[in-house]
């Protein structure tokens, strides 16, 4: 979790310094979900994510230097600088990618789950999305088919109570995302996403069941988004948490491990990642033409 925290804090700094470019959505406060879920998975389990994806990619195994280089638009980035923050992909580690269109990633995970099921393996697909994605039609379409086909897919909702700049209560009368799927034969659970152990325990139960032929499942993780919707968001629509309130929801503080060595090690690692990313050149323009179509 410290690796993700240190990474995100550095990305915030580099965004303000105009070294990281574009629309950047940080996951500070959500590390417990990323680690609790991805830590239980294998490389051959496919993960999809949304626009707030840095933590998921790193938790799934993407090297921080390559993620940071991608955010800086460099050749050495995960996607050679063609993707950016909202389009991270690391196939080697089963991170099939982030998507910038809210909710658009959900059916992709069903497709990967279908491929896994037809191939006869025990691997699963997981998709992260926010509570804002649930009000879209494609979410309902996907939930219906996932249930109908009993696919080995685990839907992980990070419910931070805000869809971009608007509280959930202004968008829907259904408070809990897990209740949205209530009519379907989908195992569902709402957990405290700031408690990494609780996430890991709940997710592992779903994972074991999915590997044994079950599915689909929905795990709703209640989280706190420490920052704004994006870097630069003035957040006039909500009040910042006081420091003691933040400590009560901070997944790292709540873990209760008072070992600064882990934090220092993570910060050193991110220093090194930044050094590597900065050393990478911007990609050559010829890359564009080569990658529009697969050969």
């Amino acid at each position: 979790m410290w690796r993700i925290r240190a990474f995100e804090e550095r990305v915030g700094e580099l965004t303000r310094a105009n070294e990281v470019h574009g629309l950047v959505h940080l996951s500070i406060g959500g590390e417990g979900v990323a680690v609790g879920v991805c830590g239980a998975l294998r490389d051959d389990d496919v993960v999809y994510s949304g626009h707030r994806a840095h933590g998921h990619a790193i938790a799934k195994g993407a090297p921080p230097a390559a993620v940071l280089a991608e955010l800086m638009g460099r050749e050495g980035g995960l996607c050679h600088g063609l993707g950016g923050s909202m389009h991270l992909v690391d196939v080697e580690h089963g991170f099939f990618g982030a998507t910038g269109v809210v909710g658009g990633n959900v059916p992709l995970a069903l497709g990967s789950a279908l491929a896994a099921r037809l191939a006869g393996g025990d691997n699963v697909a997981v998709v992260f999305f926010g509570d804002g994605a649930v009000q879209g039609g494609i979410f309902v379409e996907s939930v219906n088919i996932a249930a109908l086909w009993a696919l080995p897919v685990i839907l992980v909702c990070e419910n931070n109570g805000f869809a971009e700049f608007t509280p959930r209560s202004a968008h829907t009368t259904v408070e809990r995302v897990s209740d949205v799927v209530a009519p379907y034969p989908i195992e569902r659970l709402t957990v405290d996403g700031g408690d990494v152990r609780a996430v890991r325990v709940a997710f592992s139960q779903f994972l074991d069941a999915a590997r044994a032929g079950g599915g689909p499942m929905l795990l709703e993780c209640l989280t706190h988004r420490f920052g704004g919707h994006y870097e630069g968001d003035a957040q006039q629509y909500r009040e910042r948490l006081a420091a003691d309130e933040w400590r009560r929801v901070d997944p790292i503080a709540r873990l209760g491990i008072a070992d600064h060595g882990v934090e220092l090690e993570a910060r050193d690692e991110i220093d090194e990642a930044e050094r590597v990313a900065r050393a990478s050149p911007f990609p050559d323009a010829s890359l564009m033409e080569r990658l529009v179509y697969a050969p």
Binding site: V46, Y48, G77, L78, C79, H80, G81, L82, G83, G84, H87, V89, D90, V91, F96, G97, T99, G100, V101, G104, V106, P107, L108, A109, L110, G111, S112, A113, L114, A115, A116, L118, A119, A125, G137, I138, E141, S142, N144, I145, L148, W149, M288, R290, L291, V292, Y293, A294, P295
Partner: protein, 317 residues
């Protein structure tokens, strides 16, 4: 003699026999579909590989993309091209860009079969020709076969291609019968359907047989049309078209889609950029008026461009 739709069904079955990764998804596909394009597939290959879906075009398309990224070769059917609107996020934002945005890590070997065109009194939401939208999206390939032979051969090529390919069939061609040809057809290769010396007509889909009828009519007046079917809009075989224009010096582009913003505009622009000095007249365009497709039969008949409009456009050159 084989019909266009039978040729498609046979090509799908061949592809599924040859490659266990090929699966078919769509509304009513296990029942054969409304025209029979998937008839018999569920019996031979089972419902794991011939999957009926709910009426959820966006999710169907997204599932196929995920499956393709995970190693399968899905062939999705969207029953009418009019409904591709419901799947455009998946097609445009996900499928078309996955290879590029991932720096080449992901590939999406997906085929999306659909059909368009008017002439069956379907009204404005079941009769459109929307191929130009699709050709505007880098990362998609777009195929529009006009014959049974091409429909089969291009479908096979699309399934073998590592990229997302949209195959836009035409409902009025489905039951036309022909002897299947063995001519090898690949994506991005136009066909010179009828050689001629006086003017070139590049026609898409249903307007290919209409252009051939126009050529017959004009031949009686001693005017020899060369009719070219690009077959694949993206990638486009511009060379074959330009080579023809260098001989005929006159060009008409013809499609059923609304002329305004249609693919014919792109064809005209590319040809004039490549061979402006070869043209003896401005490129003529044939397309539908800037209107939704009307329902009332006499209005729909008047709306549809065909042989007469092609003849008129050639004579106006």
């Amino acid at each position: 003699m084989t019909s266009y739709i039978e040729a498609i069904a046979a090509a799908l079955a061949d592809a599924m026999r040859a490659d266990a990764r090929v699966l078919v998804l769509g509304e009513d596909v296990a029942e054969g579909g409304p025209w029979g394009a998937t008839a018999g597939l569920a019996d031979e290959f089972g419902r794991d590989r011939v999957r009926d879906t709910p009426i959820s075009e966006a999710a169907i398309c997204g599932i196929a993309i995920g499956a393709a990224q995970s190693g399968l070769r899905p062939v999705v059917e969207i029953m009418f091209v009019d409904f591709v609107t419901l799947a455009l996020d998946q097609l445009v934002n996900q499928a078309a860009k996955a290879h590029f945005m991932s720096g080449g890590q992901l590939t999406v070997p997906l085929v999306l079969r659909t059909q368009g065109g008017a002439g069956q009194r379907g009204g404005a939401q079941h009769s459109q020709s929307l191929e130009a939208w699709l050709t505007h999206v880098p990362g998609l390939k777009v195929v529009m076969p006009s014959t049974a032979s091409d429909a089969a051969a291009l479908l096979r090529a699309a399934i073998a291609d590592p990229n997302p390919v949209v195959v836009v069939e035409n409902k009025t061609l489905y039951f036309r019968r022909e002897e299947l040809s063995d001519e090898p057809v690949e994506l991005g290769r136009a066909g010179v359907v009828r050689p001629g010396r006086d003017a070139t007509v590049v026609a898409l889909s249903r307007l290919v047989p209409e252009a051939l009828a126009a050529a017959d009519e004009l031949a009686a007046d001693g005017l020899e049309l060369e009719v070219i079917d690009p077959r694949t809009l993206v990638p486009l075989d511009l060379d074959t078209i330009v080579e023809s224009v260098r001989r005929t010096h006159r060009l008409v582009v013809a499609h059923e889609a609304v002329e305004h913003g249609g693919f014919g505009a792109e064809l005209a622009a590319q040809v004039q950029a490549a061979a402006f000095d070869e043209l003896d007249a401005p490129v003529g365009r044939v397309g539908a008026p800037f209107s939704p497709v009307p329902f009332s039969p006499p209005l729909e008949d008047a709306y549809l461009p065909g042989r007469a409009e092609i003849v008129q456009a050639v004579q106006a050159l």
